[in-house]
């Protein structure tokens, strides 16, 4: 048998004892009780939440169309002993995740209350606004390692801009989050005012997988299984990268940084190779592009690493990292969700010291200006 893996994979790196603190670009906090979030909502929307609840842009009321692989899509060891859902207890998050893994900064990604999938856009906006306040009051204020993102659902673009302005004045958010599954592809011009404002403010645009934009999650329709839907996260990200690049977003907003979160990175090389090939053939259709698509990708986009790909042979992961570029990768764990990646063991191929420093800390430090 080739490998009984009951030791740190990168034992040599552990032995190096070089202190490299981790920046985790995807940490999911959860609401402990509805009252926590309602205090940040106007009475009108508190009443709405109690009376009507969530209506999503998908089949089924108040839930997702696919049963998840584990309760609340969480690690089974992440339920706090004090009660409440995984990710809802800061002390337990510190004890289980932030402290033992020496997380220098964790960037909060909130998915609660189907944040970007509410059919009622006004209610969705009220939820996003409340969660933006809740992130500071319940997390960033209590642990300065945890950094908040401005959630701004792009289909109500007017609200999104107003919310970005409101939060930017507070000045403590590190990113503007929009949904990868919106009514239209992300490159469409209706969303450009958000990108313009993000560029002016110098805040990266974060795009975390998930959500329902009212369309089937795959280009071929509604799949049967969660395993298929989960697979489609990468397809959605590839479609949105293609849309943003080919519609000219990085050309129009050259200082905008765009971070793809929880989409992994194995799909990027083939997507960019194909875009380049097609661009050479059809550039007259998109004359607004001045450069090959891959060049925009290599300068304007970053990708978080989880869920990391695990080819049968480690050298193939090595190749993926080289093809995408260690400069583009930001480590993320997805704590406390079931597909969590542990920074000590997730990379089943050795990294150079320079690559480790970039992927686990340096790249994120530069993108988020820590």
């Amino acid at each position: 048998m080739s490998d009984v893996i009951d030791r740190p994979i990168l034992a040599a790196e552990e032995a190096a004892k070089s202190r490299l603190r981790i920046i985790d670009c995807d940490v999911h906090p959860s609401i402990h009780a509805h009252a926590d979030i309602e205090q940040f909502m106007p009475k009108r929307w508190q009443q709405h939440l109690r009376t009507y609840g969530s209506h999503l842009r998908t089949p089924y009321i108040g839930t997702t169309p696919y049963p998840r692989s584990s309760p609340l899509i969480a690690r089974r060891d992440a339920w706090p002993p004090t009660g409440g859902p995984p990710g809802s207890d800061l002390d337990f998050m510190r004890k289980q995740h932030l402290d033992p893994l020496d997380i220098e900064y964790g960037i909060l990604q909130v998915l609660d209350l189907f944040i970007f999938s509410q059919q009622n856009l006004e209610f969705g906006a009220a939820v996003q606004r409340a969660i933006n306040d809740w992130q500071l009051a319940f997390w960033s204020d209590r642990d300065p390692r945890l950094k908040a993102s401005i959630l701004a659902g792009q289909d109500d673009t007017e609200f999104a801009i107003a919310e970005i302005e409101r939060c930017a004045k507070i000045g403590r958010y590190v990113q503007i989050n929009v949904c990868p599954r919106a009514n239209e592809p992300l490159g469409r011009r209706r969303y450009w005012p958000i990108y313009a404002r993000a560029q002016e403010l110098g805040l990266p645009l974060g795009i975390h997988v998930g959500g329902y934009g009212g369309h089937a999650p795959t280009g071929s329709g509604w799949p049967s299984y969660y395993v298929e839907e989960h697979q489609s996260n990468a397809h959605t990200m590839a479609a949105q990268l293609t849309s943003l690049v080919l519609e000219g977003v990085p050309e129009r907003f050259p200082n905008l940084k765009i971070v793809f979160i929880e989409g992994g990175f194995g799909w990027i090389p083939s997507t960019t190779w194909r875009m380049d090939r097609h661009f050479e053939a059809f550039r007259s259709e998109v004359p607004h592009l001045k450069r090959r698509p891959s060049e925009y990708v290599k300068e304007h986009f970053w990708f978080t690493t989880q869920p990391i790909d695990e080819p049968d042979e480690g050298k193939h992961l090595r190749s993926l990292i080289e093809w995408v570029g260690a400069d583009r990768l930001l480590f993320s764990s997805d704590y406390p969700h079931w597909d969590f990646d542990d920074p000590r063991y997730a990379f089943k191929t050795p990294l150079t010291e320079a690559e480790r420093r970039k992927i686990f800390n340096g790249n994120a430090r530069a993108v988020y200006k820590f």
Binding site: I5, R75, D339, D342
Partner: protein, 137 residues
Amino acid sequence: MARHIVARTTDIPPGGNKVFGVEGRDIVVFHVNGEFFALLNRCPHEGAPLEKAACVARLTSPEPGVYQRSRVGELLRCPWHGWEFDMRNGQSWFDPKRVKVRSYPVAVESGEELQKGPYVAETFPVRVEDNYVIIET
């Protein structure tokens, strides 16, 4: 092979498990269908604690639409990524050729026999009417 007496059989209820520190390692012992199984408390994939695993059945399908459940409770489903391991030998059912959880032989012996062992009196209270769980490492 060192023998470690870690618990009375009654300390681990049917369907439950318990973790023991043995020579610096955490070993988890499961009690399933009247048998005991001991494994390193650490998934070989990314290190998840197997004590939190779901104990599931082996689910196989010879053809679409036909399903067979067997060995109920004897397969571990990792608490993180859901990889399945056979409690009996640590074999991964996800990728049987490649990854294996280290497993340890477990014996259940009567209290009288335990008194012959070198560690019984020092480490654990012995009551001859009970059975004890021993881990060999």
